[in-house]
Symmetry: C2
Amino acid sequence: MSAYETLKSRFARLATIGEAQAMLGWDASVMMPPGGGAARGDQLATLAGIAHQMLCAAEIGDLLAAAEAAPPADGWDSANLALMRHAHTRATALPTDLVEAQSRANSACEKIWRDARAKSDFSLVRTALAEVVRLTREAAAALSPALGLTPYDALMDGFQRGIGVADVAPIFTAYEAFLAEALPRALEIEAALPPAIRPERPFPAATQEALCRRLSAQVGLDYAHARLDRSAHPFSGGTPTDVRITTRYDENDFTQSLLGVLHETGHAMYERGLPEAHARQPVGEAAGMAAHESQSLIVEMQAVRSDAFLSFVAPQLRAAFGGPETVWTPDNLARLWRRVKPGFIRVDADEMTYPAHIILRFRLEQALIGGDLAVADLPGAWNDGFAALLGLTPPDDARGCLQDIHWYDGAFGYFPSYSLGAMAAAQLMAAARRAVPGIDAALARGDFAPLQSWLRARVHSQGSRLGFNALLTEATGKPLDPADFTAHLTARYLA
Amino acid sequence: MSAYETLKSRFARLATIGEAQAMLGWDASVMMPPGGGAARGDQLATLAGIAHQMLCAAEIGDLLAAAEAAPPADGWDSANLALMRHAHTRATALPTDLVEAQSRANSACEKIWRDARAKSDFSLVRTALAEVVRLTREAAAALSPALGLTPYDALMDGFQRGIGVADVAPIFTAYEAFLAEALPRALEIEAALPPAIRPERPFPAATQEALCRRLSAQVGLDYAHARLDRSAHPFSGGTPTDVRITTRYDENDFTQSLLGVLHETGHAMYERGLPEAHARQPVGEAAGMAAHESQSLIVEMQAVRSDAFLSFVAPQLRAAFGGPETVWTPDNLARLWRRVKPGFIRVDADEMTYPAHIILRFRLEQALIGGDLAVADLPGAWNDGFAALLGLTPPDDARGCLQDIHWYDGAFGYFPSYSLGAMAAAQLMAAARRAVPGIDAALARGDFAPLQSWLRARVHSQGSRLGFNALLTEATGKPLDPADFTAHLTARYLA
């Protein structure tokens, strides 16, 4: 067997262990009784340790050197080999002691954060977060020379390979300028519209669930390879042949579950459409977190909130929930689901103000990792930055720097992916509309097949063969270009 | 760290991987969509391979030798060390090629068996079963010298360590004689009783489920550490801090789910009661399959079907399902749940005829493994043996040698555990009644605490410190003695 073939079998084994971890992680969030938590932590840590050991093994380094000396001719294989090298480099750059210390510190901090957020008291978690930041900076410093990236870029690279501050900062600066002009106009236009009519509650959970299941299947999700369950925090997990999406049902609000499930369905469709021929190889994986978010948002924000789909779904909702016809018109749904309203909480934000939440976090985490911002000064810096971006001052830290789990769990460099994904979704949707006539006519019939077929061909089936910008260039003719996103917002909110 | 301490950490890691396997196995039977099956097979095979490699590692052999040279003084530790040696011996006795060939052959045969059973056509599975038997004989031959046991005893040892043909054969011969006399008498007595009144269907699945949940909690199951779900074939799985039991609901019959759940609850209580101080060590595990079955049957057969508990549960059932009071009397419940009736299917058998099903399989599998019975002759031998034991000839192979999965999945030597468990359950119940006054008075109040406390002290918390007979001797004053079982049957069915 060639060195490359041997590597493929090693990485397939690693990916299979990763699948087991994914399933155990899903179970922990969805099924596990509370008493199973301690043992589950050990199970996941043991599998992570085994996988890390396998990935860092000297044998892998030797095989990589041998394979690189006679690189495979095929484009998929050479991309795969480069990704294997990348994974090995990232894994071996971090001393095992540091990885374990981070794991312990993140886990401890995340627990304290839950309490601090509930009490809206940053001081409770300050020390724990400082330790997380200290270790993250140490990790970034170790990754930096190995990857030839700045420390913060090395962290970003862990979520969306090849994307760094130089790519993102100018895009965010331009968006800030767009928002300063667009937001007041959007609010003015909105104020002139007739007020949205709220449908009458309650919305029985069983009805919501049936609707979520039916519409996610309509997007294309095949329940022979998927499950829909309930969890406190909605997510998409599992493996490409067994995707698991979750939501929660609030009988006073069906929007959260329905749009949430369709969002997770977009993630799930990506996993389902990954190239089977490269399953369990690095090149067969999704192209990164920004690419992943583009697939959830192209469903949730672009397709589902389009005029075309609203005209399809309005009578479906009326049939499900009943009530007067005036509530279930596409126009009223648009006023309910396409509403710009600045607020403190990222996960509740509309698509126009959402990037402001990200820009704030992007700047603050650079300062934290760069050492320019002390953890103790975070609440103040947060509130100042938020006021500058959206003109509002958070009334407390629960609605400020304590709202998101990410930093408290050690995830720095992740946030930009959300807005890169939103922008890529707009760009892909525009390209799909140009390439496939009748996408909107199909959505008006509830038919996602033309859109999903195009996405499958241009995005899902490409796996990680291409970097984020190369993927977009092959699919849309250009690298990430926020103009499609601002054009989308302009058409939707400023027309 | 001493050699023994190092071994403990290695075995803890192995056990943790085993927990991951248990959870993934549970998920495959209870949650997984059909499309996830192929990947799940790979995940389980990968973890099994990793665990096998760890257990067989030369390092383990060296550590065992070092630890045995300076054996630990503590009884638990020395038992633990002996069990480590035993596990290593069993694992290393089998060549990896053979283990893999068995895994493939068992899996292939089991699939074919499903079809053969559905069509009641043994010829479909004959070749696949012959291969399974051939490989099992090869494995038994490899285990035999390593363990110093006959080949068939080496297989039995895999399910209930230390128990072999010499222990079981005389017990079964004596039981056969008992049954020849007792069965006609039991049937005669039963025929003279007023006929059982069947409660009116349907029994809504949700009502059954709520009842199962409530009564299993009453047995002692703590749902902070447990789940109850549905699966095609009921089982008990998971881990000691996160036990997972399953059942299925038939709206025409609540008995199957209710008694099934209480049976699985007995298994779950055993896992929950294992010694925490020895968690993830061989000595902290359950003492074997016969010991396990004793704990499910002491709940299902001894306690739940006792006069005392029937008097408690009858009004509960009436409250749940409604209908005339005459149906829900303890006497009528006894006539429904304590009925001797020879039949073809093991899993439907009453407690008196059940051992006949086991005796047949015990004799036939010895002949198959010993080479005295060809696979092609199995259906005939089965039918002859069944007729000799219970006076009935199976009308087809689906109700004969095709009914159970065990052999078709490569499990030979397992069957005796069921009846050893039933006998041990009677012996433990008799000892508990002697040791703890008021057990039946408590059961009449629906209170399992006195019985379960005694079982926890005498059985569950003992882990695998003792062999099956030593465990019974410490708990009841004597090794396995079928006299308690026949006395129980005599009191219940022949009085």
